[in-house]
Symmetry: C2
Subunit: 287 residues, 2 copies
């Protein structure tokens, strides 16, 4: 039986740390604030918006919503982003994507000021993650994986960290963060040959394959720690991860469940990064 790494425990710890910092900021008259920018009414966006808003309000973070119809022009959306960049009362911005076709994803993303880019979508945030330098922010889901390891005392130093998936949202940034912490990092993907054997050699297996229950008993070893960043639905409509939890959980040392794992921590990281952005802005003002 594996130890279950519970997202709620990690998220609660992040929130506790956060509340202290929000209070410190309030003491100097700063209320951390998030701008949510949503084009259209995608169901998943609405669901994340609702939970993020609730969590923000509970933590004393103000949320300002910028909601637009599907057919908004690129110029109009850019104007909104520029005004958010210039508004000192807003510290972070969350932009739901993918965007409708008339909007150039790269131009829109690049318009956001990196110091307000709390979900790591700008080029500068990406360069910061890649170069391990303090620019912008990593994507929340990627950092959530690392925060879970950290909370449960798992140091990646010298460990074999195998990552399945090479997206800019999880696979690549997690690889860079694990490398920064001195892990030996292997990145696997759909073209990897012998993926089961490579995964089974991992001390820590981070899965962001984007396919339901693909990681089964052939991918693991009994001392393994598994972080499952997958969010999928079974044909029966049940939420599940990229790991076949029922089969794998009894055979490994520790694992995150889905739901209740990485996804639960992602919003906590978003809040943390908003507060970090507000703190950086406060330091800048003092200088």
């Amino acid at each position: 039986m594996a130890k279950i790494f519970k997202g709620k425990e990690v998220s609660d710890a992040l929130t506790e740390k956060l509340l202290d910092e929000v209070n410190v900021l309030k003491g100097i008259n700063i209320k951390p604030a998030l701008a949510i920018i949503r084009v259209g009414s995608n169901v998943e966006d609405l669901s994340y918006e609702e939970s993020a808003t609730k969590r923000c309000e509970k933590a004393g973070i103000h949320v300002e919503k910028f909601i637009f119809p599907e057919d908004i022009s690129q110029a109009s959306l850019l104007d909104i982003i520029y005004s958010i960049n210039n508004d000192d009362s807003i510290h972070g911005a969350l932009l739901f994507r993918p965007l409708p076709e008339q909007l150039n994803d790269h131009i829109i993303r690049s318009a956001l000021a990196p110091h307000k880019d709390v979900d790591g979508i700008t080029d500068i945030s990406m360069a910061g993650v890649y170069a391990s330098s303090d620019m912008g922010f990593p994507p929340c889901t990627a950092r959530a994986c690392m925060e879970i390891l950290d909370f449960y005392g798992i140091d990646v130093y010298g460990k074999n960290v195998v990552i399945i998936g090479r997206s800019l949202v999880v696979g690549k940034p997690v690889a860079m963060m694990a490398l920064k912490n001195n892990g030996t990092v292997t990145i696997c993907h759909t073209k990897t040959i012998n993926i089961e054997k490579i995964a089974a050699g991992a001390d820590i297996l981070i899965v962001a394959a984007g396919a339901a229950k693909v990681v089964g008993p052939a991918y693991i070893n009994e001392n393994q720690i598994i972080i499952d960043a997958g969010i999928n639905f079974t044909p029966e409509g049940i939420l599940c991860g990229d790991v076949d939890f029922e089969k794998v959980e009894p055979l490994v040392k520790a694992i995150t469940p889905v739901p209740g794992g990485v996804g639960t921590v992602t919003t906590g990281v978003l809040l943390l990064q908003i507060v970090e952005a507000a703190k950086k802005a406060a330091v800048k003002l003092e200088i």
Copy 2:
């Protein structure tokens, strides 16, 4: 006996390709041009400057030199970079680093226009390499490793590519480029445990460890392709790579020598990227 992957063969092929493109550009009245920016008179910088200048002139690429004393101010150097950015007759810029202490490396690097950043030192070039998008350029040495594999018909698709070293000049960009080409990529470094075993499992081993002859027979297998990006000197003052060539060469399938391997291709890649920058500028002008 391994096949020796000779840098000169790769470099000659790049030059041949280049000459055609330089001629096409001349046909539309564009002479590709490189700005070399050097602060002080570091011996290694002078040596690279001399060989790059010769190679450029031979290929029909104009070189303009911007040479400054060690004590140049940041403001003055920034002004030079801005003027290079705005000069349509210059297509690429090579800035020797490290810079003297009074100059902030990140501020200076960031001032260069990414489309003229032919050695991949700006944040936007790094984001481009990281995200596999067409922004800026990769560092010349990293691309040289990939050009060698390409010239000798080695496809990394599905191969286990192990990289020793995690620098921004070779290790990380090579990892991203190999990943883009569908290799399964492992990044090792000084904190890696069992590095010999991991390296010995590689189909392709790319070494950028920065230490003389550290890779010996324990790191290899008989079907292995080795790219050695190391440049070191033995205690006797003899140029050598990161691989113990004499011991390893008889035991692997193919290997690059030092000297005569990656280093020889690096300047060829620099020339290629200057011409690519000039072509992009020409396309922009036409639009």
